[in-house]
Amino acid sequence: METTRALMPRARQDELVVEELPDETLVYDLKRHKAHCLNRTSALVWQHCDGRTTVAEVAALLERQLKIPADEAVVWMALDRLGRAHLLREQVTLPAERARYSRREVLRTLRRAAGISLLLPVIESIVAPRAAAQASCVTASVCLAAATPSCLGGMPICSQPGQCCRAQGQSCVVKKC
């Protein structure tokens, strides 16, 4: 097991709505209107992003709580994904030897543990929908009748998948969503 003295970054706390489930954590980013679902591994790593704990300590914690072999690669992988999801206060710079870690390499490292794919740090993200995207479609003629600036809030057009009612200059037209 490789160990480093690197400290965990600090987790972002502002403008987030957090809902904890027994095995997952849901996070809503009020700034970007994105929702994230963190599995147990990534949630545990995120919980320990306090700027004081070391990466090695978190790796040991994962081993105790999730029975994952205590390898820092898992922690770095989780930090990389948390950073991409904008859930950390500072940008994570992976150590040079870690920068090349791929999902496959981490899997190889963790081959010994059973059901390992469930334990890999996973963050599933979606962009929260605009309200108008949750309306039934409108016909193209109703869209063309819409007045700017709202253009019926950008509602989708019936029988034309991927097309929405959008503003163009002073009028509303059928355009790609």
Partner: protein
């Protein structure tokens, strides 16, 4: 006072829908009868004139003594929404905006864009974007004996129960064009009246020739799946999370592409019956 307020208004209605007070004023009293049919289900007349949102509808029709059709104009507060010579189009725009306004801002309810039917005391919720085949699947389920709740929104309370949103089914036979309104009774079905706990969430869309092999989602992913179709997701994510969590607490949530709706309707009802038998 806005310029629009100085126009002459001949008629108006004020109503309460899901805790929101909404008004519609019109330049012609003749249009009022048609407005009644556009209101959200369960809309009740408001006691006072104060409203949170005021729609203004200028209906001009044809100019007397000529064949010239004049523009009808719709405003939401002071914001122009539609301008067209076709009265049906302006009313369609009003109905759509009204429905969305209520769905996004409803007090104590979270609206998920979904079809809903009831089966043996539990609800089957089918979230999906427009044209994903929700109404087709709802129709097939109603024909198979399920109770109709909605083909537009799953209306959830804080306990996660689904309330009926009993608008007629909106069927577009040729994809586009104006939808036909079909009552569940025309399919031999009935409309639900009581709120139901969610038993099954089916995240699916039609794909020609697809074989039904759904996978079960974890509780977190189940909430995410519903959130992706929640009208107020951006406005109030905290309430959305809490409500969706309650709704999925005892529900099975599955996801997968489907083929013909009639092929899976019985499968879904059977699955819910099995769950009921197991007491989950």
């Amino acid at each position: 006072m806005e310029k629009i307020d100085r126009l002459g208004w001949a008629a108006g209605i004020a109503f309460v829908s899901y805790g929101l007070r909404i008004g519609i004023r019109a330049s012609s009293p003749q249009i009022l009868d048609r407005l009644q049919g556009l209101l959200p289900p369960n809309a009740k007349p408001a006691r006072g004139p104060r409203v949170e949102c005021l729609y203004s509808l200028i209906v001009r029709g044809t100019k007397v003594g000529s064949n010239v059709r004049r523009f009808n104009i719709l405003y939401a507060d002071a914001v122009p929404l539609a301008r067209t010579k076709d009265t049906d189009q302006v009313l369609e725009a009003l109905e759509m905006d009204l429905q969305l306004y209520v769905a996004e801002r409803a007090r104590r309810r979270v609206f998920v864009h979904a079809g809903v039917v009831g089966w043996r005391g539990r609800a089957i919720v089918i979230p999906g974007r427009t044209m994903s085949g929700k109404t087709t699947l709802v129709r097939a389920l109603v024909r198979a004996g399920a109770t109709y709740y909605s083909d537009e929104y799953a209306v959830l309370d804080e306990r996660g129960r689904v309330h009926p949103y009993p608008k007629p089914m909106s069927v577009r036979e040729n994809g586009g064009g104006r939808p036909m309104k079909i009552l569940p009774e025309a399919l031999g079905g009935t409309t639900g009246v009581r709120p139901l706990p969610v038993g099954l969430v089916v995240a699916t869309s039609y794909r020609e020739g697809a074989r039904w092999r759904p996978r079960r989602l974890s509780p977190g992913r189940a909430v995410m799946e519903l959130l992706a179709h929640t009208v107020s997701a951006r406005r109030d994510p905290e309430r959305a999370f809490a409500t969706l969590r309650s709704a999925t607490a005892v529900a099975t949530v599955i996801k997968g592409a489907r083929g013909e709706a009639t092929e899976i309707a019985d499968v879904l009802l059977g699955r819910l019956s099995e769950q009921e038998g197991r007491g989950s």
